[in-house]
Amino acid sequence: MDIDLNVIDELDAEEFTEMECAVEKLLSVWEIKNLRGAAAIFHDDQHIGQKRRELQAVKHPSVDVKGLMDFRRKAVVDNLEGNMLIHPLTTPVIEVNADCTVARGVWWSLGIEGLSKFREEPMAIISLGMVPGTHIKEDGEWRILSGAWQRTTKNEYKKGWVRDMQPTNTRPPLTPEQDRNFLGKYAYMKDEVRKPSPEPPHKDTFDKFPEETDNIWLYINLKK
């Protein structure tokens, strides 16, 4: 690319503002990819209580800050050794609203994990899923407003995704029904037709779903 930037000096106010807005959107998409990458790093290492910069929007009225902080302090494994959660981000679809204050995105991920709950030898896990989310600007930076990992598979490596589905690791452990209503809601099931969710955001997502806290755009394919 060799862009002649001198044309910017020739733009009238309206043209300039339009271009400025288009550039701001592209910068936002870039920043949000960085933000989600940082979130993937933070997710992997599982050090409870370690000081780290905030990636979540915590000033938005919809955010339960206490609940969020309590959740972060809960250990779900005894040991850090052998545990890891590597969920690489691929297939990004990101839409930013007209004034660059809200962005919606969906990523897909083919990942791997190591899980050792009580110092036993870790279980190698194949972990496929999606990362849907809404992002807003807080203190001048893009932050995550909402969106949780949506599991497709989480299987012991040797068994494969048809024969095995591990639940989300919590304390106390989830029942299969609880897991199915939590992060495993749209997970692979060998005896079910796959549900097409989440839908990536479309260009008109903010026209159709203007509320930033409205996550219905993710589920438009689901039959009622």
């Binding site: 300039f16 271009m19 870039w30 993937a40 545990n83 890891m84 590597i86 690489p88 981000l89």
Partner: protein, 225 residues
């Protein structure tokens, strides 16, 4: 009266476009370099390194840091440029881009998570299928009108027999006890996944910066910044 656009605002927009252009070119160049690396094209790989910089460097896994033009050229020719063998494969892919271009648009810091698969030829039997995942952190510098890799560090994450998986097979995580390469200096960081390793969030995500000072961001443990 029509709104007047200040010169400062126009300059800011130009700067933003230049940064976006750099962002895209860095990803394209790294993608091309990755393809050349996977295809064992040493000369092409070297085309993407900043060989005009005395301190150009490449660190990979626990093989040490190869610093300086001669060291980088030598190790890439030896490792990437080795004669390809039947049944051999390396397929590292770039995902999860985290990139910052300096405010002065002279340098950039970039990180990718790289899932990968491979095949290692074996005597008198089929090649061994392997997983080889890692992370690539790199400083880039704008040299000769192009974004070049200035300091690159490949952080090995897993390297294991496909059949056994990353928990059961740790035999390929660390280098053999053979003499280290004479051109290498000690590794700065090597902490691949194993049943006993503890993840540290390294390499770290680069943060916005004005002008490049050093490569310490790659191994920054303080996540509060």
């Amino acid at each position: 009266m029509a709104e007047q656009i200040s010169q400062e605002r126009r300059e800011n927009l130009k700067s933003a476009i230049k940064r976006l252009e750099a962002y895209q070119e860095i990803q394209n160049n790294m993608g091309r370099c990755m393809a050349a690396f996977n295809f064992r094209q040493a000369d092409k790989v070297l085309d993407y390194f900043a060989l005009g910089q005395e301190d150009v460097s490449l660190e990979y896994a626990d093989e040490g840091v190869f610093k300086g033009i001669n060291a980088v050229e030598t190790i890439i020719k030896e490792v990437v440029g080795a004669e390809p063998k039947s049944g051999e494969m390396l397929d590292l892919q770039l995902t999860t881009p985290m990139i910052e271009v300096a405010e002065d648009i002279k340098t950039a810091k970039a990180l990718w998570w790289c899932p990968g698969a491979g095949a290692i030829p074996e005597e008198d039997k089929d090649p061994k299928a392997i997983w080889c995942w890692g992370m690539i952190a790199a400083d880039f510098i704008f040299e000769n009108n192009n974004w070049k890799i200035w300091h690159m560090h490949y952080f090995r994450f897993i390297k294991c027999d496909y059949d056994k998986g990353w928990v059961k097979d740790t035999s390929m995580l660390n280098r053999l006890n053979t003499p280290v390469h004479p051109l290498s200096s000690p590794s700065t960081y090597h902490n691949p996944y194993s049943p006993l390793s503890v993840r540290e969030g390294i390499p770290a995500c680069p943060r916005p910066y004005k002008t490049w000072t050093d490569s310490s961001w790659m191994t920054e443990k303080d996540k509060s910044r």
